[in-house]
């Protein structure tokens, strides 16, 4: 059954209901666009307060949270990152109207100040409490309210605590659990019964035996909001995204796995299903999985139930088993090119590239909008209690995010146009520059003065926010060792900028690779030249004139 919902419209309505444009929290100041956002310690200042979150179906829900004392309201609380052995101090101020506290499951001998409470020192309404402990063994932990927990935890008084091995920010636990620090992700699972939140908001009553959760979140957001970057302005109270991005395993270029830290602060157990590849569970509740004699007991899974209050850590590697490739290892011809006239792209809006191959783009049917940048792949990661894969009554929402698999070398663009600045064309079109093969783009040098073959290739469709722009040129000349330079067009000054030193290119194909200088945005066109990058190849030479043969001109980049 189709349950279409105008997400954008709903979002606008929800925002209109939320009057507070929260100031950017301290934790977000240097936040990466994606992945774990650490709030560094070992001292933390938190304020228990209330605010609103927005759900993708247009609702807004009153939440309580531990917000950064200097920032606006945010849900969930900041991710507290410390090192094993740190003397941690958490100062809690309470802006709520009832006593609150914090417990740190997994941490021992938590001391502090405040009013006596059942499980922890409490901060009375308007008052303060302090918690001190020595950060224990490395791992993923939660922190949450120890006061009236059925109400206060459900209202949102929770967050994640990450304890890293001292001196090893790239280890989850030990050398065997080393990961790529650029690919560290947290999935804080939670569930919300808006009836409780409404009762708290209006001073009504609520019977916990009637708990029926309607919203299911990762890092405080419901799908598809989970895909948005950290700290986007239109989700002011929900700063943490959950998109997972990886590249194919490469023994030299990308040898380290991603780390996925999962923590469940909800009331229910959540069975989480990663599409696309298995995840390797390495720990539970901050303890590495070991056999009784201390051996490795990690194991791979395509589904794992994270129990209420539990944490589990996973290493994740995208290792393409077959590396299907249109050139070297094509899929069987009968399935490689689906006939889209016989198929549907749901709702005319897709993350598909239209190609069966990673890193390639195909032609999508007219009228189908694509969110795909350059042939990357997307897979949903979601709760397989599918009633949680919804926003109240609308499917494809809730406790879900996407895995994004970027092409191994990043996105690649080939020149779409060419222009000769000095010299004369001999043969070949810009298409010859698409791949390193037997087709060449050939330019005869000038014959007077210092002979030069000077030409450029134009790239289009490079997305705003692309980083790591790198040019690769492969070519040869009719004479030995001709100095060759690469240049890029700087749109802001309207001038060519030389990329590094000259390299000698002789009569055999040689490759020059140059990364564009910072700030790379200067080289990416705007306005009428949106998405355009121009690269120039200048070969100067000998007394007699020569021929330049360009084989490949490619631009690679990391898409935003």
């Amino acid at each position: 059954m189709r349950k279409l919902i105008a997400l954008v419209g709903a979002m606008v309505v929800a925002m209109a209901l939320v009057p507070l444009p929260a100031p950017v929290a301290r934790a977000q100041a240097a936040a990466p666009k994606q992945g774990l956002v650490c709030t560094g310690g070992p001292s933390f200042d938190l304020t228990a307060r209330s605010g609103y979150i927005e759900t993708p179906d247009g609702n807004s829900v009153l939440m309580w949270s531990y917000a950064p004392a200097q920032g606006g309201f945010q849900s969930p609380g900041p991710v507290l990152c410390v090192e094993q052995g740190d003397e941690v101090t958490v100062r809690l101020h309470n802006d709520l109207a009832e006593p609150v506290s914090i417990v740190f499951p997994g941490q021992l001998a938590v001391g502090g100040t405040g009013a006596p409470g059942l499980l922890a020192k409490e901060a009375p309404a308007g008052g303060d409490a302090t918690y001190t402990f020595t950060a224990g063994r490395p791992g993923t932990y939660v922190y949450e309210s120890g006061s009236d927990p059925s109400k206060q935890v459900e209202m949102g008084l929770y967050g994640a605590l990450v304890v890293r091995p001292a001196g090893h920010p790239d280890y989850a636990y030990d050398a065997a659990t080393r990961f790529d620090p650029k690919r560290e992700y947290l999935m804080l699972l939670s569930d919300i019964d808006p009836d409780l939140h409404h009762a708290v908001e209006t001073g009504g009553t609520y019977d916990f035996t009637t708990l029926r959760n309607r919203y299911f979140a990762i890092n405080g957001r419901q799908f598809p909001d989970t895909l948005q970057n950290n700290g986007v302005s239109w989700l002011p109270a929900q700063p943490y995204g959950a998109l997972v991005r990886v590249k194919s395993y490469d023994a030299t270029g990308n040898p380290l796995p991603a780390l996925i830290r999962m923590a469940n602060v909800g009331a229910l157990n959540h069975p989480f299903h990663p599409h696309g590849n298995h995840v390797r569970q390495i720990a539970q509740d901050g303890r590495p999985l070991r056999t009784p004699d201390g051996g490795d007991a990690t194991g791979e899974h395509f589904g794992r139930t994270v129990a209420s209050g539990q944490t589990q850590d996973f290493l994740f590697t995208w290792k393409d088993q077959d590396s299907w490739d249109s050139q070297g290892n094509p899929l069987p011809a009968s399935v490689a090119s689906p006939d889209y006239r016989n198929l549907t792209f749901k709702d005319g809006d897709t993350w598909s590239s239209g190609s069966a191959y990673l890193g390639a783009k195909g032609t999508l049917p007219v009228g189908t909008a694509s969110q795909n940048v350059c042939g990357e792949w997307y897979f949903p990661w979601h709760s397989h209690a599918l009633n949680e894969f919804t926003n109240f009554d609308a499917g494809f929402g809730g406790m879900a995010t996407l895995l994004r698999v970027d092409p191994p070398g990043g996105c690649a663009a080939v020149a779409a146009s060419s222009s000769i600045l000095a010299g004369t064309p001999r043969s070949g079109t810009v298409a010859a520059l698409a791949t390193a093969d037997t087709a060449y783009y050939q330019v005869d040098s000038t014959a007077t003065g210092t002979p030069a073959a000077d030409w450029s290739g134009g790239f289009a469709g490079v997305p705003t926010g692309a980083t790591g722009l790198t040019v690769t040129y492969t070519g040869r000349n009719s004479a030995a060792a001709l100095p060759t330079t690469l240049w890029a067009w700087k749109w802001s000054t309207g001038a060519w900028v030389q990329l590094g030193a000259a390299a000698d290119v002789g009569t055999a194909d040689a490759t020059i690779t140059r990364t564009l200088p910072a700030p790379q945005t200067d080289f990416l066109g705007t306005g009428a030249n949106q998405g355009k990058v121009r690269v120039r190849v200048l070969t100067t030479g000998t007394a007699t004139g020569f021929l330049t043969q360009g084989n490949l001109l490619r631009l690679t980049y990391d898409a935003p």
Binding site: H278, H301, D322, L331, V335, S352, L358, W377, P380, T390
Partner: protein
């Protein structure tokens, strides 16, 4: 005649669609020898002969005691040679639940063609369908069957999914289109991959079996018989709403029936293809000779976690999520289970050895002779009732251990012997 022969002949009569045996598809060429394991990080082995399977997606009804027939969506196996028009004429409205068990081999390409026949009961509903092989490692996204990130198959259209399975074990498959609805409506089944190690008796410690759950290298997962059992729930308000052109709020989910292979006890022990259950052809009856090593291929495509027990017979979990329970360093991480927790979207491979026939225990008799009965059941006794009706029902089936060894070798997964 075996089902695959029928499929080959293209002579699949409507009455036989409910046969309930595993769907092995049609093999191209002849089986070759085993394919060696592969080195990680490199392209995998060249596959053996391909398997071609044809499935259709449509609607239909299943039978649950004590209420009107339950409206479902489902997959069924269809003859590969038929045109879409012929398929529509022959099979539209004849969905089965659970979907056919798919029996595939490691490093053997699988082509699964899905035809969407549309819905007899909801002509207003023009939903597409997909096949999502749940747990398949590193698929091309176009074959992952998620309609928002790739393609789906509209009514009266076909699409062929392609897989080169390298990793043996038990998986599941389901439609991912409006999946919270289509999965609950019944578009769910088990797919498993036989290991390359199959065919060797040298590894079996008992030197009698050629079948293994995994490429264990030591015969520790050898089995004599295997059974694929899919755990599910039925939320009748959702099915009834769908039938009556109403919306169901999925966060109201609170099922009334708990099923194994789409049946509730005592339906679960009826044989495959029983005429009283035309929409539920797959039995969960486990029939074994004393001393048989039985492999239970378990998967859960309900939305709730289940606690399964087999009182009187120890269970050993040798695989989870199509992965041998063995750590990267080679440590055996298989484990005994008295109560086996299995969450939604999770799979377990469980071995047990049938105990000797015990004449002093309760003895029953069927066409194969006398047997002792053990119950494979949910420990949560609320799920052992059919919508609160008195007596045993719900998520339970019988393990029958016979006197003597009257059962012939299994020719197909989950074979039942009347």
């Amino acid at each position: 005649m075996r089902r695959r022969d029928l499929l080959k002949a293209g002579a699949l009569a409507a009455g036989l669609v409910v046969g309930g045996q595993a769907l092995e598809g049609t093999a191209e060429g002849t089986m070759e020898g085993t394919v060696e394991g592969t080195v990680e990080g490199t392209a995998r082995a060249v596959p053996g002969p391909a398997t071609r399977i044809a499935l259709a997606g449509t609607d239909g009804y299943i039978t649950i005691p004590g209420r009107a027939p339950v409206y479902i969506f489902g997959f069924l196996a269809v003859p590969p040679a038929m045109s879409i028009a012929e398929l529509t004429a022959a099979y539209k409205g004849k969905a089965q639940h659970v979907a056919p068990v798919l029996d595939l081999g490691q490093d053997r390409d699988a082509y699964i063609t899905l035809t969407n026949l549309g819905l007899v009961g909801r002509p207003d509903l023009v939903d597409s369908h997909t096949i999502h092989w749940h747990g398949f490692r590193t698929p091309a996204t176009v074959f992952d069957g998620v309609p928002e990130v790739s393609v789906s198959v509209p009514i009266e259209r076909q699409f062929t999914y392609f897989y080169r399975p390298h990793d043996p074990g038990t998986y599941m498959y389901h439609c991912h289109f409006e999946d919270v609805e289509h999965v609950q409506m019944g578009m769910t089944g088990i797919v498993f991959v036989r290991p390359a190690q199959d065919g060797s008796t040298a590894l079996d410690p008992l030197r009698r079996s050629t079948t293994y759950a995994y490429n264990d290298g030591d015969g520790s997962t050898a089995y004599d018989r295997h059974f694929a059992i899919l755990l599910n729930e039925i939320e009748e308000r959702e099915h009834d709403a769908d039938e009556q052109i109403q919306e169901f709020v999925f966060t109201d989910y609170d099922p009334q029936y708990y099923t194994l292979n789409g049946r509730v006890y005592p339906q679960t022990v009826l044989p495959n293809g029983h005429p009283s259950l035309p929409g539920q052809p797959v039995s969960s009856l486990v029939q074994v000779n004393p001393g048989d090593r039985a492999l239970l291929r378990l998967a859960n495509l309900g939305y709730e976690q289940h606690a399964m027990q087999l009182p009187g017979i120890p269970m050993k979990v040798v695989g989870e999520d199509a992965t041998l329970r063995r750590s990267p360093s080679g440590a055996d991480t298989s484990y005994p289970a008295g109560t086996l927790y299995i969450g939604p979207g999770e799979a377990r491979d469980v071995l047990f050895t049938a105990p000797p026939f015990n004449p002093s225990a309760r003895v029953s008799t069927d066409a194969r002779g006398s047997y002792n009965t053990y119950l494979f059941k949910n420990r949560d006794f609320r799920r052992l009732s059919n919508h609160g009706a008195p007596g045993l029902g719900g998520m339970a089936t019988e393990v029958r251990v016979y006197r003597g060894s009257p059962l012939p070798s299994q020719s197909v997964v989950g074979e039942t012997y009347a």
